[in-house]
Symmetry: C2
């Protein structure tokens, strides 16, 4: 029997508060530090590994975290989720994104269908469609192949798919599976759509309109923008556009689209990269086989997340350590720092995933919680971040926990040897160095050159950023956020906080405002 | 006589702590809210205006902030800075980035020259060089025009120039002054350089190597990467590359470069967009006239920053309100949210500018301060952010102060009318709506749909993002950060926090490590 409890009502949380604190600076020195690196590691899917030696935990903390995991029934709640309970209580919906990449438990029936079969069928439809586009069987009116795919979507229909595309673009080029260039239109700023349209070969472009409800204003506006451009170029929009939407949306069975692929209300936008929202564009860009490999990596990670022992469950452990840092140690932000240029937009995706899921002040029963929940998430790729905001991370007055990601090999394999090492070696040397600099710091007679240390980090290490590794990485963070939502007892799957702005924006556009809102609208020329 | 005092030693700061707190939710309602919008605004340069009606301040707070500005001698310190005192005490350097765009006070002599004349001369050299490239007088070995310019640099040599280029790219295309496409190579990840090189027309590419010291390892590594590529294509690197560096660097007078343009130690990397670091690439991309207009906007804003009354000085007022939010109200992060796709990388630049400048724990005398300094800075363009992390901003447990930027007109002027409004109108309606949603919130019987409000924001509003407006915007934030550094009594112009990581990375590459560092290096395959 699952019991949904607030974090601060749990006995194990009180024990965690009282557990001894680790002096990371001391813990990471010498032989002890080396032993920690060997011991504090959990294998992930696709050959990745989560290393937490440089986190401010020790065996006592870990024991307390394991007790918290058990009392919070993290494994039971995860099972309830993937077996189809109504976990998104606010919106009274199931939460099934894991089902888009694998069947973890018993069959989930909803709306009269086996949902795993539904997601698989839609992916298969998208795969077949992509195959026909690549073969030229589906082509433009002149019978010429499409060469570019443009995703029109915002939020989860944009950030995740865009980050995944960028993550695999070079890998696909190197490995002979780059089929079509992908571009993205998201912002309602007309310069976004105009700029993308000005930069592509319109007669050979295929557009994907992505909106679950079929009513997202930004997306419909950008669709009109694109349709106008197509018409002005003498092209028929219906021959250049497909839709990814829910079966019940106005876009679902419309002759305005070459094809439609379906998702449903059980896939939140920020969790939709492994549904057709990511599947259509990634299958078109790289082929359905690459997308399938990406799903396999995610499915394998989802399986690991079902382990009840957090020391064998990298997603759960990452979640527990994050809650410890946020609620016990009191640190309000977390930086995500991939040492991989391919992951340049991965932090932006995680920013949505994490902040939109757990940036909540009420628990799943609508009661105000008395503790802090989701942190601010930000990040940029290393080594760029080192030459930017790392100053504050090293010597600022606040401590910001860090999550590094690194790979032994680059994707393209082109490299130069300068001063006795390759670029890739320099990249890896930098992330190793940063972990230790943050953890142990350095004394100096000049306080301006001294580093206090004691700044914790984890690192996920892999051989190379492949489709499987990317899937595992994505699922890792999705599952981390899910487990944290369980710990904070919030509903991680709704986003009521976006509604008020929408309502007020409509009033502005209808000129139904007064007071300060009217004054600001006037200033902005509306 | 200037006196450098810690924030918490100032009498006016104690008074600020005791000043009454504003209930923003109440203050922004009805007629009072409307009056605040009219009253709480300060004109900026280039037709921009800084609006702070939705900040948690009132006349009492503003009076206390003005007293703090006076006691902290902000105007006197700014004057000392632009008239050439050694403000960067840690590195014993002048701080002269304002001088790259205008002469604010008396002539500044250093290293035996008039520094304003020096910066002007170098900009003139870059302008003439760009003119010759555009005219085809400087061309590749085959006598063909260069069509692409690629900046090789990291940190301030990358983030600022890249953000400025993206900010003006569409404006330049629309206004007939787009001359050359610009690309940027920054990360030591070899996939970054390889990817950029694979995507350009190498025989027609001109590279700018940017490194003040001429020794930045990432940049020299990427230079070698580029030179190899040029040689492999049968091209002479010396005919395809220019340098932006200091006169004393090894790159300054080398036959490896077609030309060299100089900056000096008085221009910090993160403050170098208005020096030749930004000047060379922007003059090549858009013409020297556009770059000159950008400088004019910045110079005009710098002049406003010299106003001693903060109510007439948008940069100083923004700084004071930020310190109030950070130190008195206790909020640890700030989000920068431009409602302009052209400013997509402006937050990333500000992240470096702010966090690297003021992420310090010691004052300018090397003494530990007893208060918090620079906050975490992050941001993405609206409306994209609305569909991402705004959930936490609206309903999360922490308050994050916001800085909006919005323009009445788009840059390209291409638009569609959907549901009775254009995209640009929707964009502007959204930012107006967000300000009020954050400030006033909304009650609801369902606590999950309730918004507490009381979440403060400012907005900078302009007609259009022109070169002048961009210059003013950049200078505004540079000056804000400078004033905040004065208030916190930190040296905003060094970055000792980046050193330890560099030292340790060298040890890793030399295999001179043990303990945990060796263990991590082994895991990363070095």
């Amino acid at each position: 029997m699952i019991s949904w409890k607030n974090l601060d009502t749990m006995k194990s949380y009180q024990q965690l508060l009282e557990a001894g604190k680790v002096c990371l600076r001391d813990a990471m020195q010498g032989e002890n530090g080396k032993n920690r690196v060997e011991k504090y590691a959990v294998p992930m899917a696709a050959g990745l590994c989560y290393h937490y030696a440089a986190k401010a935990v020790d065996d006592e903390t870990l024991k307390a975290l394991a007790a918290l995991a058990e009392e919070a029934q993290l494994t039971e709640k995860y099972q309830a989720l993937y077996e189809g309970e109504v976990i998104n209580t606010g919106e009274k919906r199931l939460v099934l994104h894991q089902l888009t990449r694998g069947q973890l438990g018993k069959t989930v029936m909803a709306d009269g269908v086996d949902k795993r079969a539904f997601y698989t069928r839609e992916q298969q439809k998208a795969a077949e469609f992509a195959g026909k586009v690549h073969a030229g069987e589906i082509a433009n009116a002149a019978g010429e192949k499409f060469t570019t795919v443009v995703q029109i979507g915002i939020g989860g229909s944009d950030l995740g798919p865009r980050a995944m595309y960028l993550a695999l673009e070079n890998w696909a080029k190197k490995n002979g599976c780059f089929r079509m260039e992908a571009r993205f239109i998201s912002n309602v700023d007309p310069d976004d759509a105009a700029s993308v349209l000005n930069g592509i070969d319109l007669p050979h472009a295929l557009f994907i309109l992505v909106s679950k409800s079929g009513t997202t204003l930004e997306t419909l506006t950008n669709e009109s923008f694109v349709k106008n451009a197509l018409k002005n170029a003498g092209l028929d929009p219906a021959k250049h556009m497909i839709a990814v939407t829910s079966e019940t949306s106005p876009l679902a069975h419309s002759s305005d689209y070459l094809a439609a692929f379906f998702m449903d209300d059980y896939i939140g936008g920020r969790y939709s990269s492994t549904s057709c929202v990511g599947g259509a564009v990634l299958s078109l860009a790289f082929g359905a086989d690459v997308f399938a490999r990406f799903l396999n990596g995610a499915a394998e990670e989802d399986k690991l997340a079902a382990q009840s022992d957090p020391l064998k469950n990298p997603d759960m452990l990452d979640a527990l350590i994050g809650v410890y840092e946020r609620n016990v140690l009191g640190w309000p932000a977390t930086a995500v720092l991939p040492y991989s240029q391919a992951l340049s937009r991965f932090p932006a995706h995680l920013q949505q995933l994490d902040m939109e899921s757990n940036g909540k002040s009420v628990n799943r029963f609508g009661e105000k919680v008395d503790y802090v929940t989701g942190p601010v998430i930000f990040g940029e790729p290393g080594t760029n971040g080192q030459h930017s905001f790392y100053q504050l991370l090293h010597q600022g007055t606040d401590i910001v926990p860090l999550q590094f990601v690194g790979f032994k090999q680059s994707q393209l394999g082109e490299d130069v040897d300068i001063q006795g090492s390759t670029s890739q070696e320099k990249l890896c040397a930098n992330v190793a160095a940063q972990i230790m600099a943050f953890a142990c710091g350095k004394d100096d007679d000049n306080p301006n050159k001294a580093f206090a240390g004691g700044r914790p980090s984890s690192i996920i290490i892999g051989s190379q950023l492949t489709p499987e590794a990317l899937g595992a990485l994505l699922a890792h963070f999705e599952n981390k956020v899910m487990f944290q939502g369980f710990l904070w007892n919030v509903n991680s799957f709704d986003q009521e906080g976006v509604q008020l702005g929408k309502v007020l924006a409509k009033k502005v556009l209808a000129h139904q405002t007064d007071g300060a809102l009217k004054a600001f609208s006037d200033l902005l020329g509306i």
